[in-house]
C-alpha cells in the first residue's frame, strides 16, 4: 500500500514536471511573490532627511519596541517609599483636520509613576486613571492590570518595596483597594517617582468607501489636576521637576506641555503614549507582513495549476489511463494532492524566505520604518506562506475533481480565497469584514499577521491594517477545514462516478 502510494506519487510528479505550462505557472507564482515583495511600493521619511531623522523607537525592558511619551513631574525616591495623590479632574483635547477640539481619548492616562530614569524605554510601574478604561496598574509597557472602573475624582497610591511595586486606589482616601503588585526588575535603588500625564493619538474609522482612507487619526493631549499629594520614604530633593519624555514629533499641535503648581494643586498636561509600539494608524511604519502581498498573485497561478492538474486528465481522457493503471481512486487523488501540495509549499517557502531576507531592507532604504519581528514570527510567516499556497493548490485540485471543469474550479477557488479578503479590506464595515475573515478560506491569511494586537493600545485593528480576527493557527485551520471538506467530497465522487 505504501509502496504503491510511493509509485503513484512519482507518477504524478512526472506528470507535473513534464508539462511546460505548469512549470511556467509555478515559476510565475514564485516570481510574483518575490517581485511584489521587493518592489519599492512605499516610501517614508525615516533616515531620508539626513542624520537625526532615522526612526529609532525606544526599546523597552522586554526587548520590544515601545512608545514612551509622557509628561513627568517627579523627584528622586531613594529605596522604599510610597506616594499618594487625588486625581481631581481629567480632560483632553484632540487635533483634527479642523483644528483642536475638546475630547478625551479612551486610553488617556493620569496618575502616579515610579520610573528608572527619564530615558525613553526605561522600566517603570504606574497606577493611573484612564479616559474610559477606569483605574489601571501598568508596568514595563506590556503589563496591564484592570482596577475599578471609576472616573475622577479618585485617589491613587503607589508603594515600592524592594523591586515590587503595589498600586492601590480609593474613592474617599480612607478605604483602599489593591489593584495589583508587579515586579519591576529594572528599577534602580533610586527611582524617579511622581505624577504623569499621557494621551495617545486618537483613531477613528470614518467609514469611508475604502478601508484605508476611512481611517482618521491625530495627536491628542490630556490635562489632569492633582491634589492631596502625600509622600512617605526617603525623598532626596525638595523641588518637583517637570520633564517631557518622548511624545509626538516636534512642531505638533501639542508642542507646549507643562505643569503648573498653585498651592497644593498640580495641573499637568501631557501627550504621547507609554505602551508597546504598534504599526498603522496609531503607530509607526508597517509590519513585515506588508512585504508578502505578492502571495495573492502567486496564489492565482498556483490555483490554476492545482485545478488543471486533475481537470486536464478529464479533458484529455488521461484519467481513464490513470485509473486503469492505479485502480485505487482514492490513492490517485491523495497522490495528486501530495505532489501539487508539496511543490506549492516549496514555492511559497522559498519565495517568502527571499522576500523576508531582502524586502525589509528595500523598504528601509526607502525610508519606511518596518517594525522588527522575532525569528519565530518570521519562521511562521515563511512556513505559513508555504502552507497557504499548498492548501490553496489542494483546494483547487479537490474542487477541480468535484466539478471536472477547470474553468469553474479556477474561478470558484480564486473567488473564494481573494474576494472575501478584497471586500474585507475595501468596502465592508469592520464588523462584516471580521465576520467574513472568520469563515471564508481567506481567513488563512491570518497566518501572515506579524503585528500584535494590544488591549491597552487603541488602534484600528482592521484587516486593512494587517490585523485579522482569528489567531494565525486558527485562521489557517479554516482553510484546512475547507480543503479537507472538498477533498473528502472529491474522493467520494471520484469513487462513485464513472470517469
Amino acid at each position: 500500500m505504501i509502496a504503491e502510494f510511493g509509485r503513484q506519487v512519482r507518477a504524478e510528479w512526472t506528470k507535473l514536471r513534464t508539462v511546460p505550462g505548469w512549470v511556467f505557472a509555478l515559476l510565475v507564482a514564485a516570481v510574483a511573490v518575490i517581485g511584489l515583495g521587493l518592489a519599492p511600493g512605499m516610501s517614508g521619511s525615516c533616515g531620508t532627511r539626513g542624520p537625526g531623522s532615522e526612526c529609532k523607537p525606544p526599546i523597552g525592558p522586554g526587548g520590544e519596541m515601545v512608545s514612551d511619551g509622557l509628561y513627568l513631574v517627579a523627584q528622586p525616591l531613594a529605596g522604599d517609599g510610597s506616594i499618594t495623590v487625588r486625581v481631581a479632574t481629567l480632560t483632553g483635547a484632540i487635533a483634527g483636520e479642523h483644528g483642536k477640539r475638546p475630547g478625551l481619548v479612551p486610553w488617556a492616562k493620569a496618575g502616579l509613576i515610579m520610573k528608572a530614569s527619564t530615558t525613553p524605554g526605561s522600566a517603570y510601574a504606574a497606577v493611573m486613571l484612564t479616559g474610559s478604561h477606569g483605574v489601571r496598574m501598568q508596568s514595563d509597557f506590556t503589563g496591564d492590570i484592570a482596577g475599578p472602573s471609576d472616573s475622577p475624582p479618585r485617589w491613587l497610591r503607589l508603594t515600592r518595596n524592594g523591586d515590587r511595586v503595589t498600586g492601590a486606589s480609593s474613592a474617599d482616601g480612607t478605604t483602599w483597594i489593591t489593584i495589583g503588585t508587579v515586579r519591576v526588575a529594572g528599577l534602580p535603588s533610586t527611582a524617579q517617582a511622581g505624577l504623569f500625564v499621557a494621551s495617545p493619538d486618537y483613531t477613528a474609522t470614518a467609514g469611508g468607501p475604502f478601508g484605508l482612507s476611512g481611517v482618521e487619526s491625530g495627536p491628542a493631549q490630556a490635562t489632569a489636576t492633582f491634589d492631596h499629594l502625600a509622600r512617605q520614604g526617603q525623598w532626596t530633593a525638595s523641588e518637583w521637576t517637570g520633564t517631557r519624555i518622548g511624545g509626538p514629533g516636534n512642531g505638533g499641535p501639542f508642542e507646549h506641555q507643562d505643569y503648573q503648581r498653585s498651592g497644593d494643586t498640580f495641573t499637568v498636561s501631557g501627550s504621547g503614549d507609554i505602551a508597546p509600539l504598534v504599526t498603522g494608524a496609531a503607530g509607526l511604519g508597517v509590519s513585515i507582513t506588508q512585504t508578502l502581498v505578492g502571495t495573492f498573485l502567486g496564489l492565482v497561478a498556483i490555483v490554476v495549476v492545482g485545478a488543471l492538474f486533475v481537470t486536464g486528465e478529464y479533458r484529455r481522457g488521461l484519467i481513464r489511463t490513470t485509473i486503469a493503471a492505479r485502480p485505487r481512486r482514492g490513492l490517485v487523488l491523495a497522490a495528486k494532492a501530495t505532489v501539487v501540495g508539496a511543490v506549492s509549499f516549496v514555492v511559497g517557502v522559498v519565495a517568502s524566505a527571499v522576500v523576508l531576507a531582502f524586502g525589509v531592507g528595500v523598504l528601509r532604504s526607502h525610508g519606511v520604518y518596518v517594525l522588527p519581528a522575532g525569528t519565530g514570527i518570521e519562521l511562521r510567516l515563511v512556513v505559513g506562506t508555504g502552507l497557504l499556497l499548498a492548501l490553496s493548490a489542494i483546494l483547487a485540485l479537490a474542487v477541480g475533481a468535484i466539478l471536472r471543469r477547470s474553468s469553474a474550479a479556477v474561478a470558484g477557488v480564486i473567488v473564494l480565497v481573494t474576494l472575501p479578503y478584497l471586500l474585507a479590506v475595501s468596502v465592508l464595515p469592520l464588523g462584516a469584514a471580521q465576520w467574513v475573515l472568520r469563515f471564508s478560506p481567506a481567513a488563512a491569511f491570518a497566518i501572515q499577521q506579524s503585528a500584535t494586537q494590544w488591549a491597552q493600545v487603541d488602534n484600528v485593528y482592521a484587516p486593512a491594517e494587517g490585523y485579522f480576527p482569528l489567531p494565525p493557527a486558527a485562521g489557517l485551520g479554516v482553510l484546512v477545514a475547507w480543503t479537507a471538506g472538498a477533498l473528502a467530497l472529491a474522493t467520494v465522487l471520484l469513487r462513485r462516478r464513472d470517469a
Binding site: S406, S407, V410
Partner: protein, 252 residues
C-alpha cells in the same frame, strides 16, 4: 451573419450557458441584497459610504461568472478541439471573433441588466431601513451607476474573451482576468507612496471601472466615472486586439 447565427446556436444549445447566465443574475443580485441588508453607518458624523456602490456591490462577485463565460466561449473550443470545426465552417477568423464578441455582448448585457436591476430593486427596498437614501432610477447619476454597471460587466466579458484568444487555455485566461480584477486592488492597497498609489488606482481595471457606480464625492475620485470605465474598456479591447492578432496569425 451566418457566423453570428452559428455562434448563437452553439451558445444557446450548450447546457452550461444557461447556468452561467443564471449565476450572473443570482450572484450579482444576491451579494447586493446581502450587502444592502447588513449595511451600517460606522461613522458618528454621517455616512461617507456611497449608497449606490453599497447597493450594487454584487457586480464584484457576478463578474467572476462573466469572466468564465467570456473565456469559455473561445477557450473552451481549444480544449475540445471544436475550434478546428469552427474555423473550417467560418474560415474568416475575424468574423468568427466578432460573431463571438457580439453574442457575448448581447448575453451579458441581458443577464447583467437583470442582475444589476435586481440589485437595485433589493437595495431600494432594504437600504432606507439601514439609514441610506438610494436615488430613483430617473436621477441621472443613479441611471449612470446602474447602466454603467451593465456596461462594466459587458467589458469584463470581452476581457475574458480577449485573454482566452491570447492564451488559448481557458483556466489560465480566467486566472489572469481574475488576477487583474481582484489581486490588482489588493496589491495597490499596501502601496503607501501617494503618487504610485494614485497611478495604480487609475490603471486597475476593476477599481477604475467601478468608478462608474459613484454617486457621491465625485471630485474625490482618482478618475471620473466615464474615464474609469474607459480604462476598463482599454484593457478589454487591448486584450481583444492581442487575441485577434494571435488568432489570425497562428495555427489553431
Amino acid at each position: 451573419m451566418n457566423a453570428l447565427r452559428s455562434e448563437w446556436t452553439k451558445l444557446s444549445t450548450s447546457p452550461g450557458t444557461i447556468w452561467m447566465l443564471l449565476g450572473i443574475v443570482a450572484l450579482t443580485a444576491g451579494l447586493s441584497a446581502a450587502s444592502a441588508a447588513t449595511a451600517g453607518c460606522p461613522a458618528v458624523d454621517g455616512c461617507a459610504v456611497d449608497p449606490a456602490r453599497t447597493g450594487l456591490i454584487g457586480v464584484q462577485l457576478g463578474q467572476a461568472v462573466v469572466v468564465v463565460l467570456g473565456a469559455l466561449l473561445l477557450g473552451g473550443e481549444y480544449g475540445t478541439g471544436m475550434i478546428a470545426v469552427s474555423l473550417a465552417a467560418t474560415p474568416r477568423r475575424t468574423s468568427l471573433l466578432l460573431a463571438k464578441a457580439a453574442n457575448l455582448t448581447a448575453l451579458v448585457a441581458v443577464s447583467g441588466a437583470l442582475g444589476v436591476l435586481g440589485s437595485y430593486w433589493f437595495s431600494r427596498l432594504l437600504l432606507p431601513g439601514r439609514g441610506y437614501h438610494l436615488g430613483a432610477l430617473t436621477e441621472p447619476m443613479m441611471l449612470r451607476a446602474v447602466g454603467g454597471s451593465v456596461l462594466y460587466l459587458v467589458l469584463v466579458s470581452l476581457l475574458g474573451l480577449g485573454l482566452a484568444a491570447t492564451v488559448r487555455e481557458p483556466a489560465a485566461a480566467i486566472g489572469i482576468a481574475l488576477g487583474l480584477l481582484y489581486v490588482f486592488p489588493i496589491v495597490t492597497s499596501v502601496v503607501s507612496a501617494k503618487h504610485w498609489k494614485r497611478h495604480l488606482e487609475q490603471i486597475q481595471p476593476m477599481g477604475a471601472g467601478l468608478n462608474i457606480q459613484a454617486t457621491v464625492n465625485l471630485h474625490g475620485l482618482v478618475l471620473s466615472p466615464w474615464a474609469g470605465l474607459g480604462v476598463l474598456a482599454a484593457w478589454a479591447f487591448g486584450a481583444l486586439i492581442v487575441g485577434w492578432l494571435l488568432l489570425i496569425g497562428r495555427d489553431a
